[in-house]
Every structure is written in C-alpha cells, then in structure tokens.
C-alpha cells in the first residue's frame, strides 16, 4: 500500500488557502452582513405591512405585493423603499417561497430570515464542536 501521496510536492489547495485568507482577514460567510432577509413590499419596493403578503391575501391591490428578498438590513420601518436588486417572490407561489427558505404559506415577518430547520442542534449542545 502507498504510505504517502504519490507526488512529493506541496498540495494544490486553492479553496482552502482562499478560505483561510478570507477568514484571517475577518471576512464572514453566512454572518449577519450578507444574510438574506425578506420584506413585504409593493410594486415599487416600498415596505408595507406583512399581511399584504399572506399567501391567501385577496384584498385591495392583491397581485401587486411581493416578498422582496435580499441582503438588506433587518428592522427597516414601513414605508422604506428598498434599493433595486434582490429577488421578488409572488407571495402566493408556495414553491418559490419554500425554495427561498421562507414558510410556504402564511405570513412572513418583515426583516426576518425564517429558514434554518437544520443546525439548531449545535446551540443546544454548546461546549463541543460538531467534529470529533
């Protein structure tokens, strides 16, 4: 059996080296800064009350409200016009909502990320890592 790598040279570890550089420079992945959050907006990107984006909303203006997903700050007040960009999701499209990490039906709380049904285990077992 070969006991060591065939080529006796430094390994090509581009992804690792890049990740290390980023980590040491203090960049985060998945941190607050680049987290995707959702707001209910009108067609102009103005934040409106969450109930307009219930999946079964049929009141005035129905069809002209959107779940607007992007790297926005949390806690923005009603009336704020979000910058262009990001992703618009039809609140009645349950499949698209799910794929964006939002609940497929019901209401989305503005500025909140609501996926995350995996990963909760770590916090409840603080003190040791996920590795072994």
């Amino acid at each position: 059996m070969a006991q060591s790598n065939r080529v006796r040279a430094a390994l090509t570890t581009t992804v690792l080296a890049t990740a290390a550089t980023g980590y040491l420079a203090g960049c985060s992945v998945g941190g607050q800064d680049d987290e995707q959050v959702a707001y209910c907006t009108d067609e102009n990107g103005k934040i409106v009350d969450d109930h307009y984006c219930d999946h079964d909303y049929h009141g005035p203006g129905a069809g002209f409200f959107f779940l607007y997903l992007g790297g926005f700050r949390g806690g923005l007040p009603l009336g704020t016009v979000l910058p262009r960009g990001g992703t618009r999701i039809n609140p009645t499209d349950t499949g698209a909502r799910s794929r964006a990490g939002l609940p497929s039906t019901g209401r989305v709380t503005g500025g909140q990320r609501v996926s995350g049904g995996l990963g909760s285990g770590f916090g409840s077992r603080a003190g040791t890592g996920a590795g072994s």
């Binding site: 059996m1 070969a2 006991q3 060591s4 790598n5 065939r6 006796r8 040279a9 430094a10 390994l11 090509t12 570890t13 581009t14 992804v15 690792l16 080296a17 890049t18 990740a19 290390a20 550089t21 980590y23 040491l24 992945v29 998945g30 941190g31 995707q36 349950t94 499949g95 799910s98 794929r99 964006a100 990490g101 497929s104 996926s115 995350g116 049904g117 995996l118 990963g119 909760s120 285990g121 770590f122 916090g123 077992r125 603080a126 003190g127 040791t128 890592g129 996920a130 590795g131 072994s132």
Partner: protein, 417 residues
C-alpha cells in the same frame, strides 16, 4: 515509535500554517491564555515496519467494524445501540445500499511495543483533517525531516470522491454537484476549513463543489426536497454535522423521508455511520472479537454500562454520543479520579478497560499521544497525532506531526568543497 524533541523550527511557521488553512491554531485555554495547537519542533518518528503493521491493524479494524455493523443490522440490535427508532429504516437502507462514504478516523492507543488498541471510531464527522492532510505534509516537505510520512490522505480523498461520485452518477444518470456544509455556530474556523479542504478534493476529482451553511439548507415543503439558498437541489451533501443532531432538528424527519425516496438528497457520511460513531460500537466489537487471539489484541475490553463485570474497579466511562472527550470519566478503585465536563450521558454510557496512554515524556513534562489513523473509502490512508498533558485527549490537546525513518543530522557535518 519515539518522540523527537529537537526538530526544526521553521521561521515564521505560525503565519505559514495559518495561511495554509490552520486558522484555528491559536487556542484559548481556560484562564484566557492563548497557545498554539500545532507543535512546531517536536515530532514522532516511526519505523517503516511499524507503519506497515499499523496499516494492517487499521485495515483489520475496519473489517471488524463492517462485521459489527452486519451483526447489529442482521440481529436488529438498534435499541441496544440507542439508535433512535425514526432513524433505523434509513440506517438499514444505507447499510445495505452503500451510498457514498468518504472518510473516518480511528483513535488508537499505541506505544510502539504491542499492537494498537482501538479507543474509539470517529466515523461520522471526523475533524483534524486539515492538519493531518495539509499542515503536516507541508511541514514534512519543508523541513526534510524523515524519509517519508504516513500520509496518502490527499490522493485517496480525491480518488474516493471520483469512485463514489461516478458510481452515484451511473446509478442516477445525473452528474451530481456536491454541496459541502458546515454549521455557522462553529466559530473557530475549524469546520469551515475542513469543508474548504474537502472542496479542493472534490474539485480535483472533477466535480462541482459548493460551500453551504447547514442553517441555510432549505426544505421545500411542497416537494419535500432540499435546496440551497439559490434554489439548487442538493444532490450530494457532505455535512460536517452529526447524524444524531441532524435527525433531532426540525427538518430531521424530512431528511429521513427524503432519503428513502428516489431522487432524494444523498448525505455524506451516510446514516449508517451512526452505528460506528456511537461508543456502543465498542462493546459490540468486544463481544464479537474479544476472545479472538489475534483480533482481540486490537481491542480493549468494553461493556454496556449495565453489563460491567462486578470485579471491574478501574475503567473509563464514555457517553454513547460524546465528542472531544466531553463527559469521559476515568474510574479507579471504583471512584472517579478524572472527568471532563460536558452535557452528554443521558443517552447512556459504555465502559472500557482503563489502559493509560503511554507517556513519551520530554523536558517539559509528560506527553500522552493518541494516534488518529485515517480511513478513506475503506482503506488506511494516513496518520495524525494529538498529544495531551493529561490522560484524556480533549479539544485542548496538541497536534504533533510525524515522520517515517528519521535520521538525525550528524553533528559537525560539513559539505565537501
């Protein structure tokens, strides 16, 4: 096996190993001090014959674990192993179909005299990979110490992805993309760097690798499938996140249900690794092989807590699902003499004969090494050594590199002119 104290110390080694990926080298110890996890200077040296014997033992241990898995599945011993009922169909299915499995690590007690003894099998989410595969390989090349190193990890990882993913591709007719997930709750950088390194091996195997955070995995409750935040289906996911946590999470039942259906996400390592990553494996192995004059030599006597021989006074108590030494206790004369804190144990314990780790003492005190022998795609692949001052190897241990057939430089040697 011997410990060399006066090895080469590379100028600027701390910055170098961090840049190579060991960003979690600086370890905060209780009291607030920061120390290096990597030991620069000292190293362990083995003869080629020792490494050959270790390789043979590791291959044998792996076969014994396969036999133990067969024994549990065939005799429906899941309850005894404390495998949660909801996970059993998936454990059984993956055991029988052998979906992709990449790596695992045996922790061994070894002193260079007798055969190695299995302490435990980290089969589901082993870490220590970056320092084993990358940092100590670069150290070996740079310092020129040792004729070789037991380290074929990189080559074997690339080959493992190639073999497993090609098999997956042929079975499904789909060329898989591979997501590699770590939990953002782990902030030392270790899990993220482990995933980044494994991404390198996936890419070099010829497949697309995508980094993913466990908490960002999306479940479509319309089709019951799993996606990344960009809406791409998760074909194959390497998860640095233990199965026993995964199935307890909110999406856990969906993970298990999706895995049972055609086209479901393939999780690496597979669910059957729960059979091996639980310490309940240890008494099963002892029951099967303890009386074998050759195979039994690779094991320490072990029992479920409710079967401890009444004559036992000295033993180690381990929680079934513990990690990094948490809640491990050393019992001597019937009383606990050493114990690490933690939150494990409600799931039950096993006990293992107390076999003190050997001490390769140096001028700075005792050094108790544990050999981490890597298995990649079912074959022995390399070695990483952690040593502790105390007898329980925990998350404050040091990583120490190793060589094969080291010859010390002769004093006063001069090059001919």
């Amino acid at each position: 096996m011997r410990r060399i104290e006066g090895g080469v110390v590379r100028p600027g080694w701390e910055a170098e190993i961090e840049a190579q990926g060991l960003v979690y080298n600086r370890t905060q110890v209780p009291g607030g001090d920061v120390r290096s996890y990597w030991r620069e200077g000292p190293f362990y040296d083995f003869t080629a014959a020792e490494v050959e014997r270790l390789e043979g033992s590791v291959a044998q241990l792996f076969e014994m674990c396969v036999a133990a898995g067969d024994h549990v599945v065939d005799n429906d011993l899941f309850e005894r192993m404390r495998i949660p009922p909801m996970a059993r169909p998936q454990v059984r299915r993956t055991w029988e179909t052998e979906p992709p499995s990449i790596y695992a690590r045996f922790d061994l007690r070894y002193d260079g005299e007798g055969p190695p003894k299995l302490l435990e099998f980290n089969a589901d989410t082993p870490t220590g990979l970056v320092e084993s595969a990358v940092t100590q390989w670069n150290w070996h090349l740079f310092t020129g110490q040792g004729r070789d190193q037991w380290n074929a990890l990189h080559d074997k990882l690339v080959a493992a992805w190639q073999r497993n993913l090609l098999k997956w591709e042929r079975r499904t007719g789909v060329r898989p993309r591979v997501h590699l997930a770590w939990t953002s709750e782990e902030t030392s950088g270790e899990d993220r760097m482990t995933v980044a390194y494994l991404m390198d091996t996936v890419v070099q195997a010829g497949y697309e690798a995508i980094e993913l955070i466990v908490e960002d995995i999306v479940l479509d409750d319309g089709d019951g499938r799993f996606y990344d935040p960009q809406g791409r289906h998760l074909d194959v996911v390497f998860k640095l996140y233990p199965w026993e946590w995964l199935i307890e999470d909110e999406f856990g039942p969906s993970v298990l249900a999706d895995g049972m259906r055609p086209g479901g996400t393939t999780w690496v390592e597979p669910a059957y690794k729960m059979l091996w990553s639980t310490k309940a494996l240890l008494p099963v192995l002892w029951q099967l092989f303890g009386s074998d004059p050759v195979l039994g030599e690779l094991l320490l006597p072990a029992y479920f807590a409710d079967e401890v021989p009444s004559s036992w006074r000295d033993y180690v108590r381990k929680p079934l699902w513990g990690r990094e030494g948490a809640n491990v206790a050393i019992v001597r004369g019937g009383a606990v003499t050493d114990e690490l804190p933690g939150r494990y144990g409600t799931e039950g314990f096993v006990v293992q004969e107390f076999a003190p780790l050997p001490d390769f003492a140096g001028v700075d005190g005792p050094h108790h090494p544990v050999l981490g022998a890597w298995v990649v795609d079912g074959e022995p692949a390399g070695l990483g050594i952690r040593e502790s001052d105390g007898l329980i190897t925990d998350n404050l241990s040091y990583f120490v590199p190793h060589t094969i057939d080291y010859s010390p430089p002769r004093a006063g040697r001069r090059q001919a002119t």
